[in-house]
Symmetry: C2
Subunit: 216 residues, 2 copies
DNA sequence: AATCATATTGGTTGATCGTTCAACAAATAT
DNA sequence: ATATTTGTTGAACGATCAACCAATATGATT
């Protein structure tokens, strides 16, 4: 019988597991209830961990938040980007497959939960500097991936089109759309936002085609 | 000497003033720190009011939040819409003047504070149903005004362009842009988002012109 | 002058907040 | 075997939380 199976003794071998359980519980509760509204005791109960253990791994609740945001940084590629790239080859389609993943998550929670980063961004940017920087890093990594796809799109977008700026615009539309979906508890505002972005992309692609025709 | 001047006696004549001071203080603190992170005692201190008075006008902290959101409903036209319409006559320009007003507010707070409704939308939509409905009403009123302007734009936008849907897209871009500006503490992400929207509008207007030319 | 509705006061409640710590247990190194 | 490192326990801390209420004051009505 392995140590991790129904063994509630004080076993240092479960160390990594305890830390992970705390991060997972905290991530879920911060997303569902928000950071300030989530008590440490709720995280402890959800994780099945006693308070002393938490303060062994994290020096404060704020530090736990930073840990959660670090975890999101680690999860971006394996959980989000790689599945998107596996599902879709076309670089522009990849952008909208990514947005469809967020849609799926919204729908699967009845639009109660949106983008974890976006939610925390608005709640803690003023007051928690270290966490704010992690939020920015999350946004930057996300945009870097999308910008890479847009670069891959090459001449299918106008030459004058700044791919980095466009990637940040994609983030803007995703976050704005999920905010409205969450507020209304309906997916339609998100879908409408993505449809608006799709229309914009269609026009950019049309211009790129016209550009190409002109230049031979 | 009027009653309201440095008179801290228990004077019912100051009733409206007390209620207003509470709403003003609460609105400011909820925006600066978030709803859950703001203690009732902080609101009381900011407003210069004792706890009993607050619970005379509001039956709970949640009720105070609803009051704040009702106040935003009342303030939308006099504080935001009417100044925009006074400053700008062209219906499409009005949209971007409105967005410039949000920009000014962002800049004037070093991008620490963004859209009050958007911030509350993400924090309380899951957990406070009544407040959530007020958030939705705020969004709907905002969009109704913008949609009106877009209708006023008439043939300058394509006939097929759904003005209601486009107004919600404008909201999406504003909220997504302010979120990134707040996270990064820089106005550039907001400006870039609005520039992206401006580009989209330019293309819509170009199509409308082409449409008009075709049809005579 | 008496009455009444309106508003304010401020101390107090029990619950929960984030955090600490001395004692202890298990694995590893010596 | 012993010592050391790594983790765990759970009670307890002071602070703050949202909320309550009996006493009191004011202005308007009669």
């Amino acid at each position: 019988m392995r140590r991790s199976d129904s063994d509630n003794s004080a076993a240092p071998a479960d160390a990594a597991s305890t830390r992970e359980k705390l991060l997972e519980a905290a991530a879920r509760l911060f997303l569902e209830r928000g950071y300030a509204a989530t008590g440490v005791s709720a995280v402890l109960a959800e994780a099945g961990v006693r308070s002393g253990s938490m303060y062994y791994f994290f020096k404060s609740k704020d530090d736990l938040l930073v840990g959660v945001l670090d975890r999101y940084l680690e999860l971006l590629r394996p959980v989000l980007i790689e599945p998107v790239e596996a599902a879709t080859a076309d670089p522009i389609d990849r952008v909208f497959t990514l947005l469809a993943f967020y849609r799926h998550f919204l729908v699967s929670t009845n639009c109660r939960l949106g983008c974890p980063i976006g939610n925390l961004a608005l709640e803690i940017s003023d007051t928690h500097e270290e966490a704010r920087q992690k939020v920015v890093q999350n946004f930057e990594n996300w945009c870097a991936v999308v910008a890479g796809w847009l670069v891959d799109a090459g001449e299918r977008l106008p030459a004058s089109c700044d791919r980095g700026a466009l990637s940040r615009y994609v983030l803007t539309v995703m976050e704005g759309g999920q905010m409205q979906a969450k507020a209304q508890k309906r997916i339609e505002p998100y879908d409408a936002s993505i449809a608006g972005l799709r229309d914009h992309f269609n026009r950019l692609e049309a211009e790129a085609r016209a550009e190409k025709e002109r230049n031979g």
